[in-house]
Subunit: 405 residues, 2 copies
């Protein structure tokens, strides 16, 4: 008998009909002889509605209280799915994150899971129940409710799969799986049947929204095969697993893109040790995530440093970086928020220099100027003008022949 | 420093403005040097909305799941009130019923409180926090959420007041307090400044909706003075306490009424021991609450038994009682659902036979026929036609001069 953890996102449980649809799918997995744990998100816009409720009370809601408030959204979903399962003749029980044994640290709004003590789940499974767990939430050792931040429900699912030593973790969403590029931009984009953890991690980190990198990372650490598939059809989806990379080495697997990019350039700073630390430490302290960093070659011991942040972080980042830049002798700070990034991801790129050349040539031929470049072992990212991002994705998808199997 | 438990009902926290109003009142109590624990209900129609959500999934929701679903309503209120208090500069923390240490049995949808272990509340109070507790809910020893059924939030407040040895329990609602009769029926009805537990219990049990009898009973057992007052003004309200009865003995305190009354008459059953038990045991097993019971004097060893139930229970009760009645030799069962009851309540009535006479005379003079009579030490109840209930309340209010102080 297999143990499967399934996760259904907000759009899959947006209303009563969709919840019944999920119940049928869950019931089918149970009928096939599996023990099933289901993780659910809040229904459709519930989280936004709750945030709006809080906003009507205060502009700066306390994070502990906000976590408790938001956690009710997932609880509601769990009870309705359990009721739907009952109405179809299945035994089912709902559990909150805390009841499911998801212990976290006390970092409200973006708590990290410290441990999963799944004995209650095991007990319910042994009693023949389908177990429906509220995603996105946990509880501190003081029994205070926390939420896990972005990608939280995916993280709950993978963490439970790891703790329960599940045979499979299935993430159901409103798209068919992981595509070679965003199909809204590239009509010929292809749904991948499988992908390696590392590649998925790069795709997710660099713009593919289908799964949060955090959950992918957890899957990799515990070697949990993760199926990403659509809750509204029976298409096979994409299997994220550890074995894929070997087979498909030296091939671009997908194109990620992101239009939420702004850059800051600090001009004319002394080219000596310690400068980078002086600049980036204050940003890290303010929890501003810095992405690509490029330092131009120094002339006369003076250099320029450019880095990217999200657009929403730009004003705060400028406010922090300007006095710091002055204090280390920089001549000025420039910013640009009309940027995007486009990345090609595939295992083994670093050993095949041809990929970078093909990427730059494809962008050149599409008339797209590259502003910054950054690379990892399995990824090459170019920062381009925001209004060129879609063209860049299409050009790269064609250049690497991703529409072909 | 006093410890006060305040409770605010659903209409007092129906929207953001009203929640801020409650926060101001709570803050004021805190400013006056009190330690404050606040119990809140779900906002306005939230509970109905959640019930509707469940109804869209299934006509017969599982009671465990329904309890978890409904409990989210009060959780939402607690977080919003805590946020409102923060925005006004107060330290506050929200707690679910379980976090507040309200342990119940496992009777979902109408759980009884087994114990209150209030150490978390005490700890939060000692840290200088105003503690906001979700009403209407508790948790079983297995950490499953339960709800307390009708009057649940009032019960939570009084139970916490008892456990914390609070100096006062204040129940805030949308009316000024306990009236001599329903002011919508009797324009001259007067808000009582104080009333004894027993009298309040009779009034609440026999139709006054302002407080649930269960909470009054708990207040009496632990001798907690309960103030019932309005959350929208500064009127003094009604103090329910143990000392009141002595002072105001031998006086009608108020008129209760209820139009949710149906009666069943079983005609021609043998007048011998055991018949009543045979009739009422099956009803009790079906959780049908039987109210007034009257047995007519038997002739030729044959008697009629009449009793009342709520209108919604009538069809079920008839279905149960008809075969039972036949099996003990009854000739037929009659029912009437167009009934109401009106009661006068006041300590010491039993020793003053004049009250019954005045009551019956007042109803007679108003042209109202009495169908059944039942009495307790401090109450006389008459069952009358439903369309005569309002007239009866007005006639009795006048006859006992309740508009006078």
């Amino acid at each position: 008998m297999s143990l499967i953890v399934q996760k259904y996102g907000g759009s899959s449980v947006a209303n009563a009909e969709k919840i019944k649809n999920v119940a049928r799918r869950v019931g089918k997995a149970h009928d096939q002889g599996n023990r099933v744990v289901v993780v659910v998100s809040a229904m459709g816009d519930t989280t936004d509605d709750l945030l709006e409720l809080a906003a009507r009370i205060t502009a700066e809601p306390d994070e502990r209280e906000l976590d408790v408030l938001l956690s009710t959204g997932e609880i509601v979903s769990t009870t309705l799915l359990a009721m739907a399962l009952h109405s179809m003749g299945y035994k089912a029980t709902s559990l909150s994150g805390g009841q499911a044994g998801i212990w976290t640290d006390e970092t409200h709004s973006k708590a990290r899971i410290l441990a999963v003590e799944a004995h209650r789940i095991t007990q319910e499974l042994e009693a023949g129940n389908i177990v429906v767990v509220a995603g996105f939430q946990g509880v501190t050792r003081n029994m205070d409710v926390t939420t896990l931040g972005r990608g939280g429900s995916d993280t709950t699912a993978v963490a439970l799969a790891a703790a329960l030593k599940a045979d499979k973790c299935e993430i159901y969403t409103d798209v068919d799986g992981v595509y070679t590029a965003d199909p809204r931009i590239v009509p010929g984009a292809r749904c991948l049947r499988e992908i390696g953890y590392e590649e998925m991690l790069e795709l997710a980190t660099w713009g593919a929204k289908v799964m949060h990198p955090r959950a992918v990372e957890l899957g990799e650490v515990y070697n949990i095969p993760i199926l990403v598939a659509c809750s509204f059809n029976e298409n096979p989806g994409t299997l994220i697993h550890g074995g894929a990379s070997v087979e498909v080495r030296n091939k671009v697997r997908g194109i990620a893109h992101d239009t939420d990019v702004a850059k800051i350039t600090i001009v004319g700073i002394p080219d000596r040790p310690g400068i980078a630390a002086a600049l980036f430490e204050p940003l890290a302290k303010a929890a501003i995530s810095v992405d690509t960093i490029v330092q131009n070659a120094g002339l006369n011991n003076v250099t320029d440093i450019t880095f990217t942040v999200t657009k929403s972080d730009l004003p705060k980042a400028m406010k922090i970086i300007e006095p710091v830049a002055r204090s280390v002798g920089g001549s000025k700070c420039l910013s640009d928020s009309n940027l995007g990034k486009v990345s090609i991801v595939g295992t083994g790129m670093q050993n095949s220099p041809g990929y970078a050349g093909r990427m730059f040539k494809a962008l050149y031929e599409a008339g797209i100027n590259i502003q910054m470049i950054s690379t990892s072992e399995i990824r090459i990212t170019c920062i381009v003008a925001q209004d060129k991002v879609k063209d860049a994705v299409r050009a790269l998808h064609q250049a690497f022949e991703l529409e072909k199997e």
